[in-house]
């Protein structure tokens, strides 16, 4: 059994599926995330795949400063992701609110709602930085899977 659980833990870091949620982002980070999956940067070589459903996801990528409108949707989406899961905050907005900080309609930062595993800062972060952040998140997935077994 231990061999099988080792294979499963190894696979957890090699097949991270991404679910992307936009919580009021200006679309800049969203475009950079899509750029990561295009032939130029080709994140699929690490096994990354964009999924359409939070039920299939391992990594939830959150972009945007979390507006009042999107707060409830963010909470519900995060609850739907099966364990082990990782949360990556993409860009400066979910981390600090960025230029939107102090606005009446901003509920952020993301740390208020969920433990953030990897933060990729920048407005917008470069695709290389996004890939590095996602790759680190994949490594954390493996540790979470091993911890889940015990």
């Amino acid at each position: 059994m231990s061999v099988l659980s080792k294979i499963i833990a190894d696979s957890a870091s090699k097949s991270p599926w991404i679910y992307h949620i936009n919580t009021g982002s200006c679309n800049g980070c969203d475009i950079e995330l899509v750029a990561v999956l295009t032939p130029r940067y080709d994140a699929e070589r690490f096994g990354f795949k964009l999924t359409g459903s939070p039920r299939h996801a391992d990594i939830v990528v959150v972009s945007g400063p979390i507006t009042t409108q999107s707060e409830e949707r963010l909470k519900r989406t995060l609850e739907q992701v099966p364990e082990p899961k990782c949360v990556v905050s993409l860009g400066s907005c979910p981390q600090s609110g960025n230029v939107f900080k102090g606005s009446y309609s901003i509920e952020g930062p993301l740390e208020k709602y969920v433990h953030v595993d990897v933060t990729v800062a920048g407005c917008t972060p470069k695709p290389e930085a996004v890939i590095e952040g996602l790759y680190k998140a994949a490594g954390i997935l493996k540790k979470k899977r091993e911890a889940m077994k015990k």
Binding site: I8, S11, K14, T51, S53, H56, Q80
Partner: protein, 316 residues
């Protein structure tokens, strides 16, 4: 002893382990070749195996609206029918189950995975799944007609005037007269069968039922963990079974005298069929709308298959 051999056959050689391994390998080759065609590096060839094991280790969530038993059992029923189908296909010339009408049994068994997807999807209670299953049903109806016409044409040729729905007779005919794909009347049937494979497996451009960017993988939208892993395995198995069926029916088995060499050649031909009819088509096309898919299968593909049937009946 017979019981033991049968169990071994079901679990290991042409059954579960062998077919899953080859199926996942074919899916990996498909993804890698597709990536190379798009000037990408692409995932490692064993990527579908990583995906499978990772999904096995994920938490399984059953939605509150779902019917729990149906929801959990649908992927298993689909897996069972696919493994039984593997036993009917003579991998490398080794026949395990054979009968007088195994082609008819295969027609029935081929519908079961699609039906399981429909049942599993509808039991999950998601509106995305409802859209997906209605499309899956239309896809099923669309490819069944040309598939049956192709089988009729083959049965008439190998039966020499009579209808013989037996894979064993097909194999014997091909040993005596050469591959069926070289038979002039059956060339359109072979083309029609190649066009049916992507719809049966559900790859682009005929993946309308599982359109992931549009309806979030349709029937699979609520699935997670082990049931999802099984559904992913089932689609890889379908990839292997459909290409193996094409190899068996139209190319036949190359006998070298060595069983292992026979199996390797068989798998290599399956791989080639997969690349030609799934990867190449996937790389150059976009997803079709469901009404276009239906129209394409009932006019173009059924038309090609009918040409073959008429030629066979005319005695060519």
């Amino acid at each position: 002893m017979i019981v033991l051999t049968t169990i071994l056959q079901i679990l290991i050689f042409p059954g579960f382990l062998f077919a899953s391994f080859i199926g996942l390998l074919l899916a990996g080759i498909d993804r890698k070749v597709l990536a190379r065609m798009q000037h990408r590096i692409g995932p490692p060839i064993i990527q579908p195996m990583y995906d499978f094991f990772k999904l096995c280790g994920k938490e399984t969530i059953v939605p509150a609206a779902a019917n729990r038993h149906v929801y959990m059992l649908a992927p298993w029923a689909s897996l069972c029918s696919l493994i039984v189908m593997c036993l009917f296909i003579p991998v490398g010339g080794l026949t395990f189950f054979s009968g007088n009408a195994d082609l008819i049994i295969i027609i029935y068994l081929l519908t079961i995975p699609a039906v399981c997807l429909i049942i599993g999807g509808s039991s999950s209670g998601s509106p995305y799944a409802a859209v997906g299953i209605s499309r899956e049903m239309v896809t099923m109806i669309a490819y069944e007609l040309p598939l049956i016409i192709v089988f009729l044409a083959i049965a008439r040729v190998v039966g020499r005037g009579e209808l013989v729905f037996s894979i064993k007779t097909v194999a014997e005919y091909q040993i005596a007269n050469g591959a069926l794909v070289s038979h002039i009347a059956l060339i359109p049937a072979a083309i029609a069968f190649l066009l049916i494979i992507p719809a049966e497996v559900g790859t682009q451009p005929f993946d309308t039922a599982e359109a992931e960017t549009e309806i979030c993988e349709g029937p699979l939208v609520e699935y997670s963990g082990k049931p999802l892993a099984l559904f992913k395995l089932n689609s890889s198995l379908k990839m292997f079974i459909m290409s193996a069926l094409f190899t068996t029916l139209f190319i036949g088995v190359v006998y070298t005298g060595n069983v292992i060499a026979d199996v390797v050649i068989f798998v290599a031909i399956c791989c080639l069929v997969t690349i030609i009819c799934m990867t190449l088509v996937h790389a150059v096309t976009a997803r079709l709308k469901i009404e276009h898919l239906f129209k394409f299968y009932w006019t173009v593909v059924a038309g090609i298959a009918l040409v073959s049937l008429i030629l066979v009946w005319a005695g060519l």
